[in-house]
């Protein structure tokens, strides 16, 4: 197993003019989350963990992680939560309409470095979509990994994303999928509690495991504590950070986090060099 202490810093991203991509499908995942399947005007490739800048003319532009299978090039999926004017406009798009797209940008999940050991994926809320491409790729190379564990937390059962796929990952590909929600009524027969609480119950070999984590930053801090307490080395824990990304081309500096620009050096970071900067408040 290769060590994964450092990801290779990618070449500085360059400014790309947005192209208009056609909306092939818009699927509602929950009350406020939509997956847009966009058709690129020319062949498009990306690595799991990368993002595109999506825009709606006259409203604005936002970074959105790519949530589909990297092996599928004809339709590029973006799963978007309606949290403001731009994402609301994107969520309202329907088939035949267009969105501005530039990308892909950013670092990717170090799947090759994780091969040979267990893979632990921890997602909170809208953190699952940026991890789904990594899951697809790991499932496609199933024999190269030991256990693959997915720990997923959401606010309520109605907020769970990709429910059908969660079942299929468990039943067809032998993934250990554990789901929990922060609150539920009696109709829910699953776990109620926070996602870091699933870590002690998950079965994996911490010394040989690599962990990918995405979620709200508070959730990620608690999750990292849980992973380290379980014995996962800090240089084998990776996070995808979300900061105030505006240009995605390392030009504006809005997404600075200590010595890093999240758009250039992230969004996927190894925890070890990031640790001292995680507590820094966003301005």
């Amino acid at each position: 197993m290769r060590t994964a202490a450092d990801t290779v810093r990618p070449a500085p991203p360059s400014w790309i003019q947005p192209r208009q991509w056609r909306v092939a499908a818009a699927d509602r995942e929950s009350a406020d989350v939509v997956t847009l399947a966009l058709t690129p005007p020319e062949p498009f490739r990306f690595q799991p963990g990368q993002f595109n800048m999506l825009s709606v003319p006259g409203i604005g532009e936002v970074p959105i992680s790519i949530s589909g299978d990297p092996a599928v090039t004809g339709r590029v999926l973006h799963t978007i939560r309606d949290v403001g004017p731009v994402t609301r406009a994107l969520c309202a798009l329907g088939p035949g309409q267009h969105a501005g797209v530039r990308g892909p940008y950013g670092t990717s999940w170090p799947l090759a470095a994780a091969e040979g050991g267990d893979l632990v994926i921890v997602a909170g809320g809208i953190g699952l979509p940026p991890l789904r491409p990594a899951l697809y790729q790991a499932i496609g190379r199933r024999d190269r990994f030991g256990r693959i564990v997915l720990l997923y937390g959401a606010r309520t059962p109605a907020d769970l994303l990709f429910a059908r796929e969660l079942r299929s990952w468990r039943s067809r590909f032998g993934l250990d999928v554990q789901v929990t929600v922060d609150s539920a009524g009696r109709g829910w027969h699953g776990s109620v509690g926070v996602v870091p609480g699933l870590i002690p119950r998950a079965r994996f070999d911490p010394a040989a495991a690599t962990a990918f984590v995405v979620g709200p930053e508070v959730m990620m801090r608690f999750t990292v504590r849980g992973l380290l307490a379980a014995g996962v080395p800090d240089d084998r824990v990776y996070l995808s950070m979300e900061r105030n990304m505006q240009c995605a081309a390392a030009l504006c500096g809005h997404c600075q986090l200590g010595p890093f620009l999240v758009c250039r050096d992230g969004p996927v970071f190894c925890y070890r060099p990031l640790a001292r900067w995680l507590g820094i408040r966003e301005v």
């Binding site: 532009e61 936002v62 731009v86 809208i126 609150s183 776990s191 609480g197 119950r201 979620g215």
Partner: protein, 156 residues
């Protein structure tokens, strides 16, 4: 000859590292129990003279809220301990504990165990540390739930 629950207790993470003599003492207060799905292990307000070490199944900790029915605060599963009101006066359950699925558990007699802790303060201190760590973990989890980190989205 009745079987002792000592080996079973020794295998539980909650009792990991406990002195062998102390495990034997605790086993003297333990009994195996089974709760069918939908039944209650304990009810809010009732005397809390026991706690449970869950071996299998899922227990929902619930609070009944007027007009909202039963709210599930947390679920507990295999290896978890349900209940520390047996340790803290006035020894009344703070929640309902409902078996979501059939639950197999070890039921500990709190009155019996408190008596042994009074007699053997080292056992009492060891148990108190374990329950304090568990209470601290549950408190941290509850704080994270209260933050509603998935609900407070902001952005563009």
């Amino acid at each position: 000859m009745p079987q002792t629950l000592e080996p079973l207790l020794r295998s539980q993470p909650f009792f990991a590292g406990l002195a062998p003599g102390h495990v034997a003492l605790i086993a003297g207060c333990a009994a195996n129990v089974v709760f069918p799905a939908g039944t209650f292990l304990f009810r809010e307000g009732e005397p809390a003279e026991t706690f449970f070490l869950i071996r299998e199944g899922r227990v929902a900790l619930e609070i009944a809220a007027p007009g909202r029915g039963a709210l599930v605060v947390q679920t507990l599963g295999e290896g978890d301990v349900a209940g520390f009101s047996w340790l803290i006066e006035p020894h009344r359950w703070e929640f309902d504990g409902r078996a979501v699925r059939r639950v197999r558990a070890v039921q500990m007699d709190g009155t019996c165990l408190r008596g042994k802790c009074d007699t053997d303060p080292r056992l009492g201190y060891d148990l108190m540390r374990r329950f304090a760590a568990m209470a601290s973990n549950r408190l941290q989890s509850t704080r994270l739930q209260l933050l509603d980190v998935y609900g407070h989205a902001h952005g563009s």
